[in-house]
């Protein structure tokens, strides 16, 4: 037996943990396989699900008894990936010598840098024309699409979370991964792994889930409105640059706590609009791609059995669903309102694009309209509320992070 432990400590580790943890571990290994498979098949968002699935699979397989860095006299079940429990500077330095992902985790997750890098990349691929060309319509649709962010907060309080945790969970309704990551790191570090994982899992199924909501709430005759009578105003690069600089400055002045998010997003937009090709390549191909890969992989590596058996996990799964469901319903109600105000010229489906999962929700709106009427080309009109949704989500996250700390 002792020889077996020495040769295959990973196998023996199953007998060194409580039964429910061992079962959860096996289930998570299969969940990891599922994430990779459905990511590969494009059912789930492959950019995140493939690295996350690999992380979930391998971290739950690669457990073994090892010295505890916090208390070296003890042994604990751990992996060679990273240790999220280290706190002091000494422990961090020691952990970096042992765990291969520790440097990335310590230097980019603890301070929210990873969320800001993703946001910078999103800024660099964001086309502001549709938003600035029709700001009133875009912003009018983005506000009701925050209904989930608004109503999930009291529901989370009712389910027993404290205000900081509830605010972090409520940001799932904004459907913007980096915001959820930023808010949970600022407000509920103890829950940031389950909140982020639940959020990214739901965001990856928005593309396949929201069409059902649309079909349930919007009759065919409304879905097929083609919006041919609407025009898109051309916007100059100068206007987009001025908007990014002024808005970024004003929002940072109002909400200094969330200034890193605003700076990252508007820096990305300014890089795009100033057409410095080398920065554009760096922000999109390197920063966004690299940070998305490590974000998915490290979140997967943090999803170990002890996180899943955490009693709050089931509540988080319910709240994540509630948040995105309410935001989707709010978005469609906003869509109906503008459809009615425009006397039927605006397709109500563009309302759901106010849920700021760029560009998935805009694509969903377009796909559902196109399925009913092949001539309906609403994607450009849906991109306006989609971008407005990113800005309102950043604002509501900033307000939550600022105000909830004053409670």
């Amino acid at each position: 037996m002792e020889q077996l432990i020495n040769v295959f400590p990973g196998l023996v580790s199953f007998s060194q943990m409580p039964t429910e943890m061992a079962i959860a571990r096996v289930i998570l290994i299969f969940v990891g396989f599922g994430m990779v498979y459905f990511g590969y098949k494009d059912v789930l968002e492959p950019l995140l699900m493939i690295p996350m699935g690999v992380g979930v699979c391998l971290v739950n397989a690669g457990l073994f008894m090892m010295p505890d860095l916090i208390d070296p006299s003890k042994q604990k079940l751990g992996t060679m990936f990273l240790d999220a429990m280290v706190q002091t500077s000494d422990q961090h330095i020691n952990a970096m010598q042992v765990y291969f992902l520790q440097p990335i985790y310590a230097l980019t997750f603890s301070n929210g840098l990873i969320a800001c890098m993703v946001f910078l990349g999103i800024g660099a691929i964001t086309e502001l024309d549709f938003f600035i060309g029709n700001p009133k319509l875009s912003l009018m649709l983005a506000i009701p699409a925050e209904m989930g962010t608004f109503l999930t907060f009291p529901v989370a309080i009712w389910m027993g979370f404290n205000p900081k945790e509830a605010a972090a969970i409520a940001t799932i309704g904004g459907a913007d991964g980096p915001m959820v990551l930023f808010a949970s790191l600022k407000l509920a570090k103890n829950l940031f792994v389950p909140i982020s994982v639940v959020s990214y899992l739901y965001l990856s199924i928005v593309y396949s889930g929201y069409p059902f909501l649309i079909k349930a709430l919007v009759p065919k005759r409304f879905r097929g409105i083609d919006m041919k009578e609407m025009t898109i105003t051309k916007v100059s690069a100068e206007e987009k640059l001025a908007f990014s600089l002024v808005t970024g400055t004003v929002l940072s002045l109002l909400f200094p706590v969330a200034a890193p998010l605003f700076v990252s997003f508007f820096l990305g937009v300014i890089i795009r609009e100033s057409k410095v090709s080398r920065y554009m390549f760096f922000a999109d191909d390197i920063i966004l791609t690299g940070s998305t890969l490590f974000l998915g992989f490290i979140l997967g590596c943090l999803l170990s059995a002890d996180v899943v058996v955490e009693p709050k996990m089931m509540k988080l799964i319910i709240l994540g669903f509630v948040a995105l469901f309410l935001s989707g319903v709010g978005g469609l109600l906003g869509g109906y309102a503008v459809c009615w105000l425009s006397k039927g010229k605006i397709n109500p489906l563009i309302g759901i694009a106010g849920v700021s999962c760029v560009p998935s929700t805009a694509k969903v709106a377009h796909k559902c309209a196109n399925a009913v009427n092949e001539e309906a080309f609403i994607l450009p009109f849906a991109m306006g509320p989609n971008i407005a949704g990113v800005i309102t989500t950043a604002v509501i996250t900033a307000i939550y992070v600022t105000k909830v700390q004053l409670l």
Partner: protein, 38 residues
């Protein structure tokens, strides 16, 4: 914090978000007046 207090707090956050959103719209309109059109 009770559920009713939580609702009032969230409503407050939502209204403030709406106000900031209107401010963003006003900024776009003002910037549009001072920059050349595309």
């Amino acid at each position: 914090m009770g559920v009713w207090d939580a609702f009032k707090f969230a409503l407050n956050v939502y209204m403030l978000t709406t106000a900031i959103t209107i401010l963003v719209w006003v900024m776009i309109v003002i910037i549009g007046k001072f920059t050349k059109k595309g």
